[in-house]
Chain length 239, copies 2
């Protein structure tokens, strides 16, 4: 049985779900697993028998090119189900890795599939979750493809802030973010050195700071301006 206030908050934003539906989801048999930082939870090519729900910690999806360069595709925070797709696509096409110590809940495909078969509203909500995630991925393409280093970093932080807020994990201007500068570089398509320099500038301009595994936002309007951030693509997440 899964008890996650974060997941509840996420799913509750889909207004079509009732308390009874949420209860059905929570009552799915689940096993809990603790994962140490830097451990690969599921690796590319694996055939899975269950989906994982993040209960604690920071997780990412990533791919590595033939010449060994890593690209982080997305960050995942408590309440996310980063491998929901495995329910319908047999092979995972990327790695799922813990960036900090994390706790995940594992729900068997057969149980989840049975619930989806039985409950139309839950099926719709999970499908919509996949679509929202795809929208976030698309904005990420714009981020790595068409923004300056400074704007990339600012946009990433702005998005994380909104997503953290949506599950109740951002307090004031601060939210936990235990990624290293190397991780951030791999997410933005930059190098560690350059990320460090961008951070220095943003710190000096009193826009934001990332240190001690936390993000502190000093000036949200300035951050939004630098990023060119518009949250329409977050759909239900931001609602």
């Amino acid at each position: 049985v899964i008890e996650s206030p974060f997941l509840n908050r996420r799913l509750r934003s889909h207004t079509i779900l009732g308390d009874d539906d949420l209860r059905l989801l929570q009552e799915l048999p689940a096993s809990i697993r603790n994962v140490p930082a830097a451990e690969t939870i599921i690796s590319e090519g694996t055939r899975q028998a269950d989906c994982c729900i993040i209960l604690r910690g920071l997780v990412c999806r990533s791919k590595t090119t033939d010449i060994g360069k890593r690209q982080i595709l997305s960050f995942h925070i408590p309440g996310d189900i980063p491998d929901l797709q495995s329910l319908l696509l047999p092979q995972l096409d990327h790695d799922i890795t813990a960036l900090s110590d994390a706790t995940i809940g594992l729900v068997r495909h057969v149980d989840l599939a049975a619930l989806i078969d039985a409950n139309r509203r839950i099926a719709t909500v999970l499908w919509r979750e996949c679509l929202t995630e795809a929208a976030v991925n698309r904005e990420w393409i714009v981020n790595v493809g068409r923004r300056s280093g400074e704007a990339k970093l600012a946009h990433m932080v702005a998005e994380l802030k909104r997503r953290m807020e949506a599950v109740g994990l951002a307090e004031g201007d601060t939210f936990p973010f235990p990624a290293t500068q190397a991780d951030i570089a791999d997410a933005l398509g930059l190098t560690t050195v350059h990320v460090n320099r961008i951070l220095r500038v943003l710190r000096a301009r009193r826009v934001l700071d990332i240190r001690h595994r936390e993000v502190v936002i000093h000036d949200w309007p300035k951050l939004v301006a630098i990023a060119g951030f518009r949250d329409n693509y977050l759909h239900a997440i931001g609602a």
Copy 2:
């Protein structure tokens, strides 16, 4: 009623669909629309009442940043349904534009939703289509984030080749591709000038050529090597 050999071929690769299911899809009431090159089919923020299926031509999804830079998120070829998501997400978060003269089929959301409600297999297949598309988007992130200019272009061509083959539109080493160099640049996160120079090199090395609205692949193994192309992420598309 939609008659598209390309869509059929796409959907048939999902082995769970029978001929009767395909017939149900084909018999949905649909209207056909011709779109001239460069016309925006649906623009960001629109609330839609129908989904469009591409019957002919090249279409793309794109976003434009606050400072006016366009990023093409994906190319769409006959058989694709680029706005399937609109069925569940009310607002479109990007533009859908025709890059060449195109023909699209429009199916009303209500009709499609009714069919999904009535037919579990069709629902599964359409959900899976969304997931496959998300997988393609993720590989695109890697492409713009972590590959050299030459590798980006090569990877794009390799992917298009496989997708064109899957719907029967690639003949031998050639397939139609009516995008301009400016379009390619916006897809890869480069400039027109640089795309032109990369093309010159790939042409000189007898790897590939893009001209007269067509791609010609001279040396597939070399192309795959330059791109670092692995097709596992195409899932059902490439099967």
